[in-house]
């Protein structure tokens, strides 16, 4: 406002322009160079390879990928294969149950631990250690425990309950529950930890206010705490869901897909089509369907997470 403007204009455009004019593209070239691996991964692997698979799912590739267009043939064949149906059904049942149970158990355990429990660290360590183990180890351990002749069933029978029957690994109808028990054992600790972090993040004064207002503890949880933890639940949900779609190792180790293919999952179908049945096109089509299911899970979440924020 009150700066002198006039005497300067001659000075300003004339002298002492630095010798080295920075070129836009070369600015921060170190940073750009350093992120080349990331850019390559994003473009080549995540975009490129995914696109490649989707494109090849519309071909009749058998042993080798070829661009012989076959339209929706692979999808038509996929959806008329009983084994694919079994896989989808398994995934749906397993997914729904493990989603519900993981969330419920995870939250309840976190809420219990949040009640200023003595030995909290010990309990947390116990609940979480299975998460450090691989699905292979998990699957093999439960395979052994659920062994009908020597495992849990025989032990309970030996205690006098002769008719007790729980043989999921040998019973096609309930095999999925055998997997569920193992999956919950391995994965609930993680969700508990996330929930516990969420509970710890809630302002202590909320609890004080509820206490002053005379609201019972359980009601505080259902009416105040759980609604406040919505983002934590959403995060857990997305995490569990995207894990479920990938389920593979556990089934391989625990049941091998058996008995009689009863515990097959889509990931197994993909792997078998690609690497043993030499039917690449089927594998690509099936994996594209898996991708589609993830997209269906992610879009509402992304909308809730990011779409909502922009409006707010």
């Amino acid at each position: 406002m009150s700066t002198t403007h006039d005497e300067v204009s001659s000075l300003a455009d004339g002298p002492s322009v630095p010798a080295r004019r920075p070129v836009r593209f070369l600015r921060n070239w170190s940073a750009k160079l350093a992120t080349v691996p990331m850019i390559a991964t994003a473009l080549v692997i995540f975009v490129g390879c995914t696109g490649w698979t989707v494109i090849h799912s519309f071909t009749n590739s058998k042993l080798l990928p070829k661009l012989n267009w076959a339209g929706l043939d692979q999808y038509r064949r996929l959806w008329s294969t009983p084994k694919w149906y079994v896989s989808i059904e398994n995934l749906a049942v397993f997914g729904a149950l493990s989603l519900i149970f993981t969330l419920v158990i995870g939250f309840v355990l976190a809420a219990l631990l949040d009640r200023k429990v003595r030995g909290e660290d010990v309990f947390r360590t116990i609940f979480l250690y299975p998460f450090a183990l691989s699905f292979i180890v998990t699957g093999l351990a439960w395979q052994w425990i659920l062994n009908p002749e020597l495992g849990l069933q025989s032990v309970i029978r030996s205690w006098g309950w002769d008719s007790f029957t729980f043989d999921p690994l040998y019973n096609a109808r309930i095999v999925i529950y055998g997997l569920l028990i193992a999956a919950l054992w391995q994965g609930t600790g993680l969700v508990m930890c996330i929930m516990l972090a969420g509970l710890r993040g809630i302002d202590e004064e909320i609890w004080k206010a509820a206490r002053v207002d005379g609201i019972p503890t359980w009601k505080t949880y259902t009416h105040v705490i759980i609604p406040m933890m919505r983002p934590v639940f959403v995060t857990s949900l997305v995490l569990i869901a995207s894990g479920i779609v990938k389920v593979y190792d556990l089934v391989i180790a625990q049941t091998g897909g058996g008995p009689g293919g009863a515990s097959a999952v889509p990931a197994m179908y993909v792997m078998e089509s690609m690497f043993s049945a030499q039917n690449l096109g089927q594998g690509f089509a099936a994996s594209t369907m898996m991708l589609l299911s993830v997209v269906i899970i992610l879009i509402p979440w992304a909308y809730l997470e990011f779409g909502g924020k922009k409006r707010g």
């Binding site: 490649w52 979480l128 093999l140 054992w185």
Partner: protein
């Protein structure tokens, strides 16, 4: 605010003398309220926690017990009971003699394969991701956020979608079947989560520190190596924990991208336990399973709170 009238009555009931404690004795509750330690709520609380703990501890107990028994005892007895006669033979056999296909040199081969995969994978993936995260946090350039977003979305793509084309890429690079191919795959698939981890960490470092370093004439690498690295030790430990357990536990990539002689421990374990030939030796199987789980378990118990921090950092999106 209380109205003056009630304040007056309050003062009348409770004259100054009482409030200052000049009167020695008054009736009614005083001090800490008595509370029973064994309340019904506490019984429920600890009862539940103990029962649930049993469910979580049971498999570990069973595995350890089974691995210390001889086969005759396993066939006779119950899986929960401790061994009558402790034998370490199953452990020895699992480590050095168990067969997969034609190889009968036990899990030790898989163990060393896993180590050979693990070390370069952890080093490379963390090196790449930490630099990525640093660049994304402090040296944003046009498009950097786009690539990061793609990377984050990529973390949700089922591996099965990308597996086959990556086989082709690795074959073109001449790495298919080799350990280095697998190292590359681990670096790629570890990148989203690790980059997020490092990006968020470096973003939480005060920006002014970065500015001060620039005024002091330090560039991209110098700021990274001399300022950022020395102050980010905890996050590196978290990343190492995350990667060691993740890579050690991997099965899918190991089975696809390596040849049988390079199979990591998890793959070999599965082949030993789930092989259809021969008599099932449950004690050896459990010893092998425990051996495979030992590395992540040691990491878990040794790292304690950092492990929790690691998975929380991995789970809660930035």
């Amino acid at each position: 605010m209380a109205d003056p009238a009630s304040l007056n009555t309050l003062a009348a009931i409770d004259p100054v003398g009482d409030r200052t404690g000049a009167v020695g004795h008054m009736d009614g509750p005083r001090g800490r309220r008595p509370r029973r330690t064994v309340s019904r709520a506490n019984i429920f609380l600890y009862g539940t926690l103990l029962v649930v703990s049993l469910y979580y501890l049971l498999p570990l107990w069973v595995m350890v017990m089974t691995s210390l028994k001889g086969m005759p005892e396993i066939r006779m007895g119950n899986i929960f009971s401790p061994p009558v006669e402790i034998t370490f033979q199953p452990w020895v056999k699992a480590w050095a003699e168990a067969c997969t296909g034609i190889n009968c040199d036990g899990l030790s081969r898989g163990f060393w394969n896993s180590v050979r995969i693990l070390v370069p994978s952890v080093v490379l993936s963390i090196a790449v991701a930490s630099v990525n995260g640093y660049a994304l946090a402090n040296w944003k350039f046009k498009g950097s956020e786009v690539f990061f977003t793609i990377l984050m979305i990529g973390a949700f793509i089922p591996y099965q979608v990308m597996i086959y084309p990556i086989v082709i890429v690795l074959r073109e690079l001449g790495l298919f079947g080799s350990l280095w191919g697998l190292v590359l795959v681990h670096t790629i698939f570890g990148m989203p989560i690790l980059t997020l981890l490092f990006r968020n960490y470096f973003a939480s470092v005060p920006e002014e520190l970065f500015k001060a370093a620039r005024v002091d004439g330090a560039g991209f690498w110098r700021i990274f190596l001399q300022i950022m690295l020395p102050m980010s030790l905890p996050i590196f430990v978290v990343a190492i924990i995350l990667q060691v357990t993740g890579i050690w536990n991997d099965f899918l990539f190991g089975v696809i991208y390596t040849r049988p002689e390079n199979y990591p421990m998890t793959v070999q374990l599965n082949n030993i336990v789930n092989s259809v030939q021969g008599v099932k030796e449950y004690n050896v199987n459990m010893a092998a399973t425990l051996l495979t789980g030992l590395v992540p378990l040691v990491v878990y118990f040794a790292s304690g709170k950092l492990f929790v921090r690691g998975i929380a950092a991995g789970a809660v999106k930035g």
